[in-house]
């Protein structure tokens, strides 16, 4: 057992965990944050994508114990109260989800893509950067449209906040 303290979605959390516990299992089973999904066992699908200290990671490939003191953001923490994050709103607006299973990971990856590449990020970059996220339903067309549009909206909210 290891003692773990970290911040999840802005909330301080402490727990005793088995040192082998994966971050995704800690989030899902210990914290009951079931928006982060498990779609594979080889770190290939991205359904488990969360933000760790502001960067997207596959939470199935991270030991929870290694997150001591870290700041973790999951899909449940992305909206500001009842106001959706612009990327969430863009996914709905552009019909970028069908079954919804890949969606939390896609949205978290999308936010990170924009954070790293800026609001002008182009289609080719988005497609390349989505390499680690598999969607079986949408054929990606609308996911790409949503991330383009979410990128523009994120720039808008940033300007508005400044």
């Amino acid at each position: 057992m290891t003692k773990l303290s970290l911040t999840i979605n802005g909330r301080r959390v402490s727990a005793d965990i088995d040192s082998r516990t994966l971050l995704v299992d800690f989030l899902r089973n210990n914290q009951r944050l079931t928006g982060t999904h498990v779609g594979c066992d080889t770190s290939q699908c991205g359904a488990c994508t969360v933000h760790l200290d502001g960067r997207s990671v596959k939470s199935c490939a991270v030991l929870a114990a290694s997150c001591e003191g870290a700041d973790v953001m999951t899909i449940e923490g992305l909206a500001d109260g009842t106001t959706l994050h612009p990327m969430q709103a863009a996914f709905r607006e552009h019909h970028a989800l069908q079954c919804g299973f890949c969606t939390p990971g896609m949205i978290m990856a999308g936010v990170d893509i924009v954070n790293r590449n800026g609001s002008q990020v182009d289609e080719a970059t988005i497609r390349k950067e989505l390499e680690g996220n598999i969607c079986r339903c949408t054929g990606y067309h609308n996911i790409v449209r949503a991330i383009e549009s979410g990128a523009a909206a994120m720039a808008g909210t940033k300007i508005a906040a400044e």
């Binding site: 019909h95 299973f101 390499e131």
Partner: protein, 788 residues
């Protein structure tokens, strides 16, 4: 209200929970006192089980039970079933071996279920499963479908000599042979339709929960058809009578056919929950999904097309060996027969067709319906034959298709289907325009200047959806009727619950079905909730597959809505004191014709429940109506897809430069959702044509058992798609809808292979056309060009 009704691209109602992480998939549900199941699976493809020793596993920490096939048999739990009887051409019924949920005496594929461990924690169950000792008497594997029937091959089921389940045929052999005898040109192709793993992103999962106080079982399961699951688990497998068995399929993360079937794991979880007296949860790891989810396709076919000198098609002949895997899955027998051969007429007027299909056992994972199910296999045969025949006879592939299109409706094909409506030339013309077919030669020249090979390929597909008229499928061997049910409950305040037997696992029914209600009853969709996926709430239903939920499920809703309006008119007439036959219903209001009296839908609902203003002898209180809708015919969506690719002969990389899709799905309820279905289908078709391949070695070991080895289409493997529609309403259902869920997966593979072979200048490439395969083929093209 029309801005939310039929035809509006309303944003989806269900999205909010998914984009905020609040979906409720089976693995998100936890029951009090829950335990965990792990299956011990066969590591070998084919063996007798000489002995199973579970003693060490039973003694392992946290273990509550270890069970084998003998325990199921002792409890009289029946085997898994195949629900469609196929008769061979000699009239004999198909020869199916038993399909126990846990192996009895023999294992028949790698991943076959040998035993289950139930433990307090998942890790404890895993550890204990590793301690089960099985003594296998290994037998030779039978992997290749082409040679599985040969003499001397190991016998997989005693019931099926030569590993042959059936030798089925359809069509008129003599007429077809006669047409071939007088043909001016015959095109012949050997075709392999590659085996695919469906890989819905949510792995299958189940929680069995037995309540001893109520003597009641509840199964939470990743199902496309929870009522069918209940029926099979109850009536055939014998878990419990239907009124003691509740099946809940909550949010389900994609299915594509693979979640239709009633599998071993769900069966064992629900049974074991009574054994251990605690809820039992099982969630597939992706590796298990590769081994144990039913696979798709896997046909080996020889196909021929006969033309006269003018280019008119005279006949089509096909001989197919279909790999059914080691056991017959729930609908396995129907997929390569009645869902396949009746589609071999495509969009074409073909006077004679004859098809023979051998259904074959191999020591591989069972094969069953996967998006399209039989129809992609048929379309690949037809559209490859058409394209190659055009090339061989020097005809333009578009005009050759147009020449042979069916032009008047209804049209009876020689293979069962009676097409009711369509305008194939309209889709072709629009697609040619959108794809700038005229500019192709210039684009090819430009690519050639850069040292690249450019090609364009067509696919003019048809599918039979809206599955299906019950009597028709019954006469073909189906064990069930394929109607759908709906119940509309209008609450006293005018809000509405619609209970449907369809199941949404990505299709967006919570939106589209509400749109149908909005159009029919004039209420905003915010006042409507769609209830599905729970056998305690919805009485009965047949579920979602075969692009049936619009054509069949929504038609049932329309029928129930008409009954609501009829009853509403009677209530309104009594309240407004006008004759019943003088009440009209328009835009959500009941109007007394020729008077200025009117009542809103909500007012009538309230009066129906208050029941002060009518005679209960004449009108029952309440406003709730149900319906069962049985379709009159299949529906026949069709369309033309055009793929254009550019190949780099140096690397074998194929870039899809543009994708044009023009589909005729009849009336669209929500165009945004329909386009999304097309996109997703195309990506799956691109996956089949260029990436996905399921490979077994000669010992029956699955080589492509994870996302590391099995190439799923990713965002940079596919282009943006240019999707458009033409419309001929479907005449056989009240909405005029045809269904759109499978079209992309059906249309895409031949379009892409036709494009790649056009670029290569020869036909020698098989699916998947991976960069390595394309590179080899392109080297041949380059050598050929150099020689010329």
């Amino acid at each position: 209200m029309t801005d939310q009704g039929i035809g509006a691209s309303v944003k989806r109602v269900e999205d909010l929970r998914f984009i905020t992480g609040k979906g409720q998939y089976v693995d998100d549900i936890n029951r009090h006192g829950q335990t965990y199941a792990v299956f011990a699976r066969s590591p070998v493809a084919h063996a007798t089980i000489k002995n199973i020793d579970v003693s060490e596993a039973l003694a392992s920490p946290g273990v509550l039970g270890v069970y084998t096939g003998a325990d199921l048999a002792a409890d009289k739990i029946g085997g898994l079933i195949c629900g469609w009887m196929i008769h061979s051409k000699d009239g004999s019924p198909m020869k199916a071996g038993a399909h126990p949920a846990l192996a009895q005496g023999k294992v028949r594929y790698v991943g076959d279920h040998v035993a289950v461990v139930i433990a307090e924690t998942l890790d404890q169950a895993k550890d204990a499963a590793g301690l089960i000792q099985v003594d296998y008497g290994e037998l030779p594997a039978v992997v290749d479908v082409g040679s599985a029937q040969a003499a001397g091959k190991a016998q997989i089921h005693d019931e099926a000599p030569n590993n042959t389940v059936y030798q089925w045929h359809l069509g008129d052999k003599d007429a077809t042979d006669a047409a071939f005898a007088k043909a001016a040109h015959v095109t012949k192709l050997d075709i392999v339709n590659n085996r695919l793993v469906p890989n819905a992103m949510e792995p299958r999962a189940a929680i069995g929960d037995f309540d001893p106080g109520q003597d009641q079982f509840t199964l939470y399961t990743t199902s496309q058809n929870p009522h069918v699951a209940r029926l099979v688990l109850s009536a055939f497998i014998g878990i419990a009578p239907e009124h003691k068995l509740r099946v809940i399929a909550p949010d389900v993360g994609g299915g594509f056919g693979s979640k239709i079937f009633i599998y071993a794991e769900e069966t064992v979880c629900i049974w074991a929950s009574k054994k251990v007296g605690r809820p039992v949860k099982w969630v597939a790891e992706r590796t298990e999904a590769f081994l144990a989810d039913a696979h798709g396709r896997d046909h080996v076919t020889t196909a021929e097309l006969a033309l006269d000198a003018s280019g008119k098609i005279l006949a089509l002949r096909a001989n197919t060996k279909a790999n059914l895997g080691a056991y017959l899955s729930t609908f396995a027998s129907s997929v390569p027969t009645y869902l396949y051969a009746p589609l071999l007429s495509g969009q074409y007027d073909i006077p004679a067709i004859y098809c023979e299909v051998d259904g074959v056992y191999t020591t591989t994972t069972p094969v069953d319906a996967y998006r399209g199910a039989g129809r992609p296999e048929a379309t690949f045969v037809v559209e490859r034959l058409l394209e190659v025949a055009a090339r061989q006879t020097g005809r333009d592939p578009a005009e050759f298709r147009r020449q042979n299109f069916i032009k008047s409706f209804p049209h009876q094909t020689p293979v069962i289907m009676a097409y009711d409506a369509g305008d194939y030339a309209a889709s072709l013309d629009k697609a040619l325009e959108m794809a700038d077919y005229k500019g192709l030669a210039a684009r090819k020249a430009e690519s050639a200047r850069k040292g690249k090979l450019r090609g364009l390929g067509f696919s003019a597909y048809i599918e039979a959806c809206g599955i299906a008229p019950s009597r028709a499928v019954g006469s073909l061997g189906a064990g069930v009727g394929l109607w759908e049910s709906a119940e509309i409950r209008v609450n006293p305040v005018g809000t509405i619950e619609v209970l449907t037997g369809s199941h949404s696992h990505g299709q967006g029914h919570e939106t589209t079905f509400a749109q149908v209600i909005s159009s029919k009853l004039g209420v905003p969709i915010e006042q409507v909730s769609i209830v599905h996926g729970d056998t305690d709430k919805v009485q009965m239903g047949m579920g979602t597959y075969g692009s049936r939920s619009g054509a069949v499920g929504a038609s049932a809703i329309v029928k129930a809505a008409e009954k609501i309006v009829a009853k509403g008119k009677r209530v309104a007439a009594a309240c407004m004191e006008v004759p019943e036959d003088s009440v009209d219903f328009e835009n959500g209001e009941f109007l007394g014709r020729g008077t200025n009296k009117k009542m809103t839908f909500g007012e009538v609902a309230l009066q129906a429940y208050v029941a002060h203003k009518f005679d209960p002898e004449l009108i029952e209180p309440g406003l709730k109506e149900g319906s069962f809708y049985d379709p009159k015919n299949f529906t026949f969506p069709s369309g033309v897809h055009i793929a254009e690719v550019e190949i780099d002969p140096e690397t074998g990389h194929t870039r899809i430069d543009r994708w044009t899709a023009v589909d005729d799905f009849g009336i669209l309820i929500n165009p945004m959702i329909v386009e999304g279905q097309v996109h997703g289908g195309i990506a799956q078709g691109v996956g089949q044509a260029m990436l996905e391949h399921t490979v077994y070695d000669e010992n029956g070991q699955l080589i492509t058992g994870s996302f590391m080895d099995y190439a799923m289409p990713r965002a940079d493997d596919v282009p943006s798609y240019n999707v458009s529609m033409t419309t001929t309403p479907c005449p056989s259902n009240p909405l005029g809808v045809k269904g759109c869920g499978e079209a992309g997966a059906i249309a895409a593979p031949p379009a892409l292979i036709n494009a790649i072979t056009d670029a290569l200048g020869h036909e020698e490439i098989a699916m998947p056309a991976t960069p390595q395969a394309v590179w080899r083929a392109a080297q041949k093209s380059v050598r050929k060009q150099a020689a010329e």
